[in-house]
Symmetry: C2
Subunit: 132 residues, 2 copies
């Protein structure tokens, strides 16, 4: 179970996080993602066909930023290893979908699957400052 | 001069962008930064002592995400090469500071300097969808 600072604990329930992975071209890649604070960890449910998922299959590392949308100088960044596990039965996808009142399977086409991604942090970095 | 899609042109005047670089440990690193849409390009003014600056000295690549804070499923991502140029006289820092009505030099300590970072895009990626 990862320890998160009390000062930024509210962000663990935010709607959106910003995921950075490393592309096949060696450049960072950023996308907005849904996430769940689940059993003490930050987890994602990703479609197997997406670039971000393929990036983490190749290089299982990532950074997840949760931004306070009302005060974008305040955010939490969790960097580390990305542990990918099959979610063929959509068990975790349903759990994450409940947070958003959404059925993730409806987003997926035939032949696509889901993986459950757990971030194993090497850094948890709370920020509260003006950018600059 | 980089071409940006009209659908996301308003974001070029946003207050904050989210920069992803690659750390010495090979993991992505994300921070919020000030930026300026200047002479048709996206540019940053960074303190030379910061980790993100050192990351780009080592590996001159980055991704910059500009998020619509009111609709975080809508954003612009610009990925590419980071061109770093000395800004010893703070000429560009003043130009960027004018956007924020701020004196960037006041943030810097003796011995620290500034670089002007221009993103030379390989991808410009407009997104407008629900995350998931």
């Amino acid at each position: 179970m990862t320890s998160f600072p009390d000062s930024h604990r509210d962000l663990l329930d935010a709607e959106v996080a910003l995921l950075a992975t490393i592309g096949g071209d060696g450049l960072p890649q950023q996308t907005a993602v849904w996430f769940l604070h689940d059993e003490g960890e930050l987890r994602l449910s990703l479609n197997t066909s997406r670039l971000k998922t393929r990036n983490m299959h190749r290089r299982p590392v990532c950074s997840l930023m949760i931004l306070d949308l009302d005060k974008p100088h305040r955010y939490l960044v969790v960097r580390g290893r990305a542990r990918l596990e099959p979610d063929d039965e959509y068990a975790f996808a349903r759990k994450l979908g409940a947070k958003y009142n959404a059925d993730l399977k409806q987003n997926d086409r035939p032949g696509e699957g889901r993986v459950k991604v757990t971030i194993e942090p090497t850094n948890v970095y709370p920020v509260d400052m003006r950018a600059g």
